[in-house]
C-alpha cells in the first residue's frame, strides 16, 4: 500500500508539469497582442507596453517564460495582475469562499442524490422511481446558468426570499441557493448512479447470503449493499469536488460570489492571464489530490481492491 501511494505521488509530477505547461501556453500564447484594447480606442503608449512586456517576460520564448513562472511559483509568488494586485493574495482571499460553496454543493448532491438513489434503487419501479427519473432528466437537461439565473430571478427578485447577489464574505446560509444551482446537475447524476448500482447489487450473491444468515435488514443494506454500491458514486463525488471548484465560474458570476470561479470569470473577461493561470494551476492541484484520495478510498471500501 505504501509503495502504491509513493508511486501515485510520483505520477503526479509529470501530470502537474504537463497540465500547467498546457495551461500556460494556452493562456499566454493566444495569438494577438495582449495590449490591444487595453488602452481604449487608442493604441497603448509604447512605454507602457515595454514595461509590461518586461514584467511578464513576454519577450522570452514560451519555455523560458514558463520556467520563470514556475520558478517564482515555487518561491511562493503567484505573480501580479496588470493592475498590480498580487495573484496569491487574490487566491487566498477567494478560495475559502469557493471551498464553502463547493462543500454546500457536494453536501446537497450527496444527501439528496444518495437518498433518492437508495430509495429508488431499493424499491424498483413505481411512482417514486418515475418521479426521480423525470426530475433528474429535467435537471440534467438544464445548463447551470439557466438554473442559476432562474433561481436568482424567481427567489431573489420576484419573491424577495434571498438577495440577488451574496455578500462579500458569505455564510453557509447565503450559499444554499447558489449551492443548489451549482450542485443540481451532479445531484441528478449521483441519484442515477446510486440507483443503478444499488439495483444491480440488490440481487448479488453476497446479499442473498447475508439475508440467509439472518442479518437484520438495516445491516444488509447499510453495510453490505451500500458499501459496495457506493464505489462508483464516490469516484464521481471525489472528482466532482474538483470540477465544482472550477465549474463555479458561471454560478459565482451570476450570484457575484468572490470565489475562485469569479476570479477566473473576471480574469477571462479582462484578459488577466496571470490570474487565470494561477487559479487554474491551483485547480489542477486540487483535481490531482482529489483523485488520489478517491483511489485510496477504494481500497478502504473494498478489501478486494488492493494495489500491491
Amino acid at each position: 500500500m505504501i509503495r502504491y501511494i509513493l508511486r501515485r505521488l510520483l505520477q503526479l509530477i509529470p501530470v502537474f508539469f504537463g497540465t500547467t505547461f498546457l495551461i500556460y501556453a494556452l493562456v499566454w500564447a493566444v495569438p494577438g497582442d495582449p495590449f490591444s484594447g487595453k488602452c481604449g480606442q487608442q493604441a497603448c503608449p509604447q512605454a507602457y507596453i515595454d514595461l509590461m512586456t518586461e514584467k511578464f517576460h513576454l519577450n522570452d520564448n514560451l519555455f523560458v517564460q514558463y520556467f520563470k513562472y514556475l520558478g517564482s511559483l515555487f518561491g511562493g509568488d503567484w505573480g501580479e495582475t496588470f493592475n498590480g494586485s498580487s495573484v496569491g493574495e487574490l487566491i487566498s482571499t477567494s478560495y475559502p469562499i469557493t471551498l464553502r460553496l463547493a462543500l454546500v454543493a457536494v453536501l446537497i448532491e450527496a444527501i439528496i442524490g444518495l437518498t433518492a438513489g437508495v430509495l429508488t434503487g431499493l424499491r424498483g419501479k413505481g411512482f417514486l422511481d418515475n418521479l426521480v427519473l423525470v426530475s433528474t432528466t429535467f435537471l440534467i437537461s438544464l445548463p447551470v446558468f439557466v438554473t442559476a439565473i432562474v433561481l436568482q430571478i424567481v427567489l431573489g427578485v420576484n419573491l424577495g426570499i434571498i438577495d440577488a447577489s451574496v455578500s462579500d464574505d458569505p455564510s453557509f446560509g447565503e450559499l444554499i441557493v447558489p449551492g443548489i444551482a451549482l450542485g443540481s446537475l451532479s445531484m441528478a447524476y449521483v441519484a442515477r448512479l446510486t440507483r443503478t448500482s444499488i439495483a444491480e447489487n440488490r440481487h448479488a450473491d453476497y446479499i442473498r447470503t447475508a439475508i440467509a444468515k439472518g442479518q437484520p435488514n438495516s445491516r444488509v443494506i447499510g453495510i453490505h449493499l451500500l458499501r459496495n454500491s457506493v464505489i462508483p458514486v464516490l469516484t464521481f463525488l471525489g472528482t466532482d469536488l474538483g470540477s465544482l471548484m472550477g465549474g463555479a465560474i458561471v454560478t459565482e458570476g451570476v450570484f457575484n460570489i468572490n470565489g475562485l470561479g469569479g476570479l477566473i470569470f473576471r480574469g477571462l473577461q479582462n484578459r488577466e492571464s496571470a490570474t487565470v493561470v494561477g487559479v487554474v494551476v491551483l485547480l489542477v492541484l486540487v483535481y490531482l489530490l482529489m483523485s488520489l484520495i478517491v483511489d485510496l478510498l477504494y481500497a478502504v471500501l473494498d478489501p478486494r481492491i488492493r494495489y500491491d
Binding site: 487595453k38 480606442q41 503608449p45 509604447q46 512605454a47 431573489g156 427578485v157 440577488a164 457575484n256
Partner: protein, 542 residues
C-alpha cells in the same frame, strides 16, 4: 349584471385617471424619490475591477476612473449636466498666444494627508506621467508640452535623456508656467482630464505603495480596496471645491456581471448603475422596471462606420454616400437600440459647444431612391462587410444596418465579428480591415477638438479609415493655434464640413446614456463620461 359591471369598470377607469391626474398635479420633482436627504448616507455604485493601478496618469477606463476621479481634483473640472469646463483648482489660466499658459492655483487646498497642494505637485505629477520609464498608460496626454520628446522619446529603444519637461516651470508655490510645442487652444479644456491631477510628495517616494493607498486632493478620500470586491471612499471634510459631495461614503461595488448588478439595483441593494444590461433593454423592459428611477443623460460620444481607404474598391465617394443613405438610422435606434441612442447627423456629439445639427446633410438621411442611384453610379461590385467586436451589444445594430443596406441597395452585406474588443482594435490599428468597420469614439474631454484631431487628422491615433485631407489638416492646425475660443470653434467646424463632404466614415448614432438609480437615491446626474456626477448625488435616509 353585464350593464352594472361595465359601469363599474367605467367608474374604476375614471377614479384611476383622476388619481393619476392628482398625482401628476401634486408636483414633486421628476427625479422621482422624495424624502429627506441624508448627509451621512452611503451611495453604492456599480463598479468593475480597475484595469491598472489607481494613479491618475495610469487610469483611462471606466472601472478605474470611477474610483480615481472623485479622489483627485484637477485645475479644471466639467459640470455634470452639460460638461462645461470651469476652473476648479486653478485660480486663473492666462495665455496670449495659446502656447504659453500662466497657471495660478488656489491657496489652502489640501491633500488627504494634510499637506498643501502647491504648483510643484502638478509639475512633478505631469513629468512623472509623461516619462516613458514609468510606463504610464496616459503618457500621450502630455505630448503637446514642450520637452515631451526628451522624457518620452519616440524611438522605442531610446532612453529618456532627462526626467523633466522643459515646458514646465514652477514660478512659485502657487504659480507655474506651461509652454507647449505648438499653440493649442483647447489645452485649458484638456487639462480637466484625469491624467492632469496633482500628486502629493509621498507619491514620488514610493509609487507602488501609493497605488495601494492613493492620497488625492479631491472631494473623497480613499478608505480601503479589496480586489474584485469593492473600493471604499469617504467624504474629505477639508475639501475646498464647489463640487463637494452631499453624502458620506461611496461604495464602489465590483460585479462580475451587469445582469446581477441590475437585479441588485431593482431590489435596492445597489444605488446606481450607469448602463443597462441587454436583457433589460429587450422589449423596453427597463422602462417598466425603472419608471421614476430611470436616469438619462447625454454621453459625449459618437458611433460611425469607418470606410477604410486602403480596402480595394471602397475608396469611392458615391459608394460611401450610397451606403450612408441606405441606413435607416431612425428605425434602428428605435427598434434595435430601444431608444438608448439617437440618429447621428454629423461628426460631433450633440451637446458639445460647436455642435450643429445636420452637418452631414442629406447624405445622413435615409433616402432609398437616391441611395440606389448613387450606388449604381459608383459601379461597386462584390459584397459589403461591416466588422466589429460582437460582444457588449455591438453586433445587433450593425447587423440591422447591414440589413438596411442590403434591402435598399440589393447588394450582399455581412456582419463580420471579432472575438473581443482587444482583437478588434488590433485589426483596426494594424490596418487589416477587409471592409467597413465600427468606429466608436467617446470624448476624453468635452471639446469639438477631441472629436476631430484624434480621428481625422492624417496619421492620427484613431484614424481608422486612414483618411487624409491636407485641407482638413491645415484647418485643424489653424484652429489648434487660435487663442480665441469662438474663432477656434469656427475653424474646427469648417474642418468638420470638409470631412462631411469626404465622408471617410459614416455617422450612424449618438448615445443618449441611460442609467438607473435605486429608490434610496434622491437625485443623481449622469455626466458625459457615463459616470454619476457625485456632487449632484443626494441619498435618502434609509
Amino acid at each position: 349584471m353585464r350593464g352594472s359591471s361595465r359601469l363599474w369598470s367605467a367608474a374604476a377607469v375614471v377614479t384611476t385617471l383622476s388619481l393619476l391626474l392628482t398625482a401628476c398635479g401634486g408636483g414633486g420633482s421628476s427625479s422621482g424619490s422624495s424624502g429627506e436627504a441624508d448627509p451621512n448616507g452611503t451611495f453604492t455604485v456599480y463598479g468593475t475591477e480597475p484595469q491598472n493601478t489607481l494613479i491618475p496618469t495610469n487610469t483611462n477606463e471606466l472601472g478605474g476612473s470611477k474610483a480615481v476621479d472623485p479622489m483627485f481634483s484637477g485645475l479644471v473640472a466639467y459640470k455634470g449636466e452639460n460638461g462645461e469646463p470651469y476652473n476648479l483648482m486653478a485660480e486663473s489660466i492666462t495665455t496670449t498666444d495659446s502656447k504659453v499658459f500662466d497657471i495660478k492655483i488656489k491657496h489652502g487646498w489640501k491633500f488627504h494627508d494634510g499637506t498643501e497642494v502647491k504648483a510643484k505637485n502638478f509639475v512633478d505629477a505631469w513629468n512623472y506621467g509623461a516619462n516613458s520609464a514609468n510606463g504610464q498608460i496616459n503618457s500621450t496626454f502630455f505630448e503637446n508640452i514642450q520637452g515631451y520628446s526628451d522624457v518620452h522619446p519616440a524611438d522605442k529603444a531610446a532612453k529618456p535623456t532627462t526626467d523633466k519637461m522643459s515646458g514646465l516651470v514652477v514660478k512659485g508655490d502657487y504659480e507655474f508656467q506651461v509652454t507647449l510645442e505648438a499653440p493649442f487652444s483647447v489645452f485649458t479644456t484638456k487639462i480637466g482630464y484625469t491624467a492632469f491631477a496633482p500628486l502629493p510628495d509621498s507619491f514620488f517616494k514610493d509609487p507602488a505603495a501609493f497605488a495601494k493607498h492613493p492620497i488625492g486632493n479631491g472631494p473623497m478620500k480613499f478608505v480601503s480596496r479589496t480586489p474584485n470586491v469593492e473600493i471604499k471612499l469617504t467624504r474629505f471634510d477639508d475639501y475646498q471645491g464647489p463640487d463637494k459631495v452631499k453624502f458620506k461614503d461611496l461604495d464602489d461595488k465590483i460585479y462580475a456581471s451587469q445582469e446581477t448588478a441590475y437585479q441588485d439595483l431593482l431590489s435596492n441593494k445597489l444605488d446606481f448603475i450607469e448602463t443597462l444590461p441587454p436583457s433589460a433593454l429587450t422589449a423596453d423592459k427597463y422602462k417598466t422596471d425603472l419608471k421614476d428611477n430611470l436616469v438619462t443623460g447625454h454621453l459625449l460620444g459618437i458611433s460611425t462606420i469607418a470606410v477604410p481607404y486602403y480596402v480595394q474598391g471602397y475608396n469611392n465617394l458615391d459608394l460611401r454616400r450610397a451606403i450612408s443613405m441606405a441606413i435607416d438610422r431612425a428605425q434602428i435606434t428605435k427598434t434595435v437600440m430601444h431608444d438608448t441612442y439617437v440618429p447621428a447627423d454629423g461628426y460631433v456629439s450633440q451637446g458639445i459647444p460647436g455642435y450643429r445639427p445636420g452637418v452631414c446633410g442629406e447624405y445622413c438621411k435615409f433616402d432609398p431612391a437616391k441611395a440606389k442611384e448613387l450606388f449604381a453610379k459608383s459601379g461597386f461590385k462584390g459584397k459589403l462587410t461591416i466588422a466589429s467586436n460582437a460582444d457588449g451589444g455591438r453586433k445587433e445594430p450593425l447587423v440591422a444596418a447591414c440589413n438596411s443596406i442590403k434591402n435598399t441597395l440589393g447588394v450582399e452585406c455581412d456582419f463580420v465579428p471579432a472575438t473581443d474588443f482587444g482583437q478588434w482594435r488590433s485589426i483596426v490599428t494594424g490596418h487589416k480591415l477587409t471592409g467597413m468597420g465600427r468606429s466608436d469614439w467617446a470624448a476624453d474631454y468635452p471639446s469639438i477638438e477631441d472629436f476631430l484631431n484624434p480621428l481625422y487628422r492624417t496619421g492620427a491615433s484613431s484614424n481608422d479609415s486612414t483618411y487624409s485631407n491636407p485641407q482638413v489638416d491645415a484647418l485643424l492646425k489653424q484652429a489648434d493655434s487660435t487663442a480665441d475660443k469662438d474663432a477656434a470653434v469656427k475653424l474646427y467646424q469648417q474642418a468638420e464640413d470638409l470631412i462631411a463632404k469626404d465622408l471617410p466614415s459614416i455617422p450612424v448614432w449618438d448615445e443618449k446614456g441611460v442609467a438607473a438609480k435605486s429608490k434610496h437615491t434622491k437625485t443623481v446626474v449622469l455626466d458625459f463620461r457615463r459616470r454619476a456626477d457625485y456632487s449632484s448625488v443626494e441619498v435618502l435616509k434609509k
